[in-house]
């Protein structure tokens, strides 16, 4: 078993789709009166478009694309701070490729690199550590970005740096957590959500219990899902079945990867290195209580915020989002990407205006990349 192709079997898909159709009918959902299911995770958004699942599933299901792309929810001011750090002559700024093209208020990291900053793409914070070992006379900063899936990797890297006393390594921490924004969305009176597809890889770290409040407090079903198309379809089926049956539970479709209680080593590393910030800013969602992490005082030597006096450590900075950008509304499911007046004209993947057009996980980019315009898609698919 390679745990990939097996979950892309088109024959099995026909079965799941038929079962979904049946349950949608049982619920009585239609295009006019659809069931709203939010996939929280950008990886799920990407997979939905890549495999055309939105068009394979019946019109009675409407996917709402959630805030689960760490690049998309990053406020512009964070990118500005990255650029500020990266442009110091002593700094080698290391980052995942995802963040390279995100526009800051003046420039993206890609442009800062072209302007002369020493910015290097890495696959792993371990590679940034290695760069720090090899460049003892430079300051190596890693752009720590991502949800709970990614947080352990930077926590473990900081612990490793501390063990080696690697004084020239630090992390610009922008890690965020999944449950707070979900709560914020559920508290939004305009939001109409019938259920959730839960983030599979975040859950392998934190387990399934952090979602209990969704079922127990808000009465909404949630199914933690894998990323292959069959995983997603099966999870949608499971959400629909809960709705049909009037249940609200936390279910786990991705049990091959996600243990109920998560990963203890990862959780311990996070707890050792990080602590919650009182509040953190999300692009499109604003400040959300306890939704971000910062480096604990014990590891202050590895905190780029402190080392370079930027970010929350230096007081909040106000950079307004670009004019005409509707990312916030798209991210909260209030409008579809195509509902944004900028979509496809003022905002394209070549020249993204908003963050959702930058990352291939962003809802707008996914729409554009795999469908261009609703009309064109219909045409192309015939």
């Amino acid at each position: 078993m390679r745990y990939v192709e097996e979950f892309r079997d088109p024959i099995a898909a026909r079965g799941v789709l038929a079962a979904i159709g049946k349950v949608v009918d049982q619920i009585g959902a239609t295009a006019e009166n659809p069931v709203h299911i939010m996939e929280i995770c950008g990886g799920h958004t990407h997979a939905i478009f890549r495999y055309g699942l939105d068009r394979l599933t019946p019109p009675g299901i409407e996917f709402i694309h959630g805030p689960g792309c760490p690049v998309c929810v990053l406020p512009m001011s964070r990118i500005d701070e990255c650029v500020e750090i990266a442009e110091r002559p002593e700094v080698i700024f290391t980052t995942f490729g995802d963040a390279m093209r995100v526009p800051g208020s003046a420039k993206s990291l890609m442009q800062a690199k072209a302007d002369g900053a020493d910015i290097r793409m890495v696959y792993s914070p371990l590679d940034a550590l290695e760069i720090a070992r090899r460049n003892p006379d430079r300051e190596v900063v890693f752009f720590g970005l991502g949800f709970e899936t990614t947080t352990p990797s930077t926590a473990l890297s900081i612990q490793q740096a501390a063990r080696e006393e690697l004084g020239n390594f630090s992390v610009f921490c922008n890690h965020i957590t999944v449950p707070p924004p979900i709560k914020a969305l559920l508290d939004d009176p305009h939001m109409v959500l019938d259920g959730f597809v839960g983030p599979g890889h975040v859950s392998m770290v934190i387990g399934t219990h952090p979602y209990d409040f969704i079922a127990q407090v808000y009465g909404k079903p949630i199914v933690v899902a894998g990323f292959e198309p069959l995983d997603l379809l099966q999870s949608v089926l499971m959400v629909l079945e809960q709705i049909r049956d009037g249940r609200a539970e936390v279910e786990n479709q991705y049990a091959r990867i996600v243990p109920e209680h998560g990963n203890s080593v990862s959780l311990a590393a996070i707890a050792d290195v990080y602590e919650p910030r009182p509040s953190f800013e999300w692009r499109g969602l604003g400040e959300i209580d306890a939704s971000g992490l910062r480096i604990r005082p014990a590891y202050v030597a590895y905190d780029a915020e402190e080392k370079f006096g930027v970010g929350y450590g230096a007081g909040p900075r106000i950079v307004s989002e670009p004019e005409g950008c509707a990312c916030g509304q798209v991210m909260t499911g209030r409008i579809k990407p195509t509902g944004c007046p900028q979509y496809g004209t003022g905002c394209t993947p070549e020249m993204p205006l908003g963050a959702l057009m930058v990352s291939s996980e962003g809802a707008c980019a996914a729409y554009y990349q795999y469908g261009a315009t609703e009309d064109a898609v219909t045409e192309a698919v015939q």
Binding site: V4, R8, P10, A13, R14, G42, G43, F49, R50, Y51, G52, L53, R55, L56, C69, P70, V71, F96, G97, D98, M100, R101, M110, R120, M121, V122, Y123, D127, G146, T150, P229, P349, E350, S359, S360, E361, Q369, Y370, G371, A372, A376, V377, E379, A380, V381
Partner: protein, 349 residues
Amino acid sequence: MTMERPIIPSRLRGERVTLAHGGGGKAMRDLIEEIFTGVFQPPGTEDQARLTAQALAEPGAQLAFTTDSFVVSPPVFPGGDIGKIAVCGTINDLAVGGAKPLWMSAAFIIEEGCEFELLRRIVASMQAEAEKAGVRIVTGDTKVVGRGAADKVFVTTSGVGVIPPGRDLQAGNIRPGDVALVNGVLGDHGATILAARGDMALSTDIQSDCQSLNALVEAVLHAAPNARAARDATRGGLASALNEMAETAGVAIEIDEIALPLRPEVKGVCEVLGLDPLYLANEGTLVVFVPEAEAEAALHAMRDTEAGRGAARIGLAKPGPAGRVTMRTAFGGQRLVDTLVGEQLPRIC
């Protein structure tokens, strides 16, 4: 000429190129004679080659002319080196236009500190590949720049060939119903370079597909005399080549995911880094459109050549919308295959 050279005492002191080797004096002459012209053996010593070809005088024959700079890093990688690519790439740009490549120029920009051994290897590859393809490297140039002003060595080749009377391979000729063929697996070069570069610390056994396609194109044209258009799918991968062709011809193109020849290792690299193999570079990948009636013949002819063993039928042209490329996915859906935006970046989310 043979690759073996008589062993004469080298006038090149040390192991690396210094700025003196670009200064226009004796050191430069020594470098050029020992490393370059000693192998390429261009005709004459003037700054321009003087050439005659019967084929060019034929009424209706056209001269084909192309150029490319090669900047691949690392300069030596599994399956080839920058020299081999530089010769193949220019041969291929001529060949996909239906031209028979005749002559080539080679200009080198060398970074101070580049090892003579590396240059020797590159030059030997170029000469070997040129001989194989029946092309002569007839003129050239070398420049040396300071450390940090180049990345070891850049090679720019230009090629001149002749398009026989009556031949017309241009993307504009593609019509709805035409069949798209490729000569083999996709993305090997791009995946090889990503791994060889070392930044991502990946190791694989993949090799670049770097090869000359002129014999393959001739074979296709023989089997499918009405072949419409051909491209070598280099930077930007198959997706970019198809998009360009669709736009130029004003047709839509639909390809079939299941039909795409891909090595598991290339898929592996793409999975690890979150990349799409449709956009990975190739250096010996032909995309050719032929009329449906000639498709099977072309496919068999391709498979009979060295460069076409893995040939496959991957899709077809449709009436429209003009410029649109789509893929029927293995899962049963359909998706757009747009031109890449910038470069593909490794991603984690």
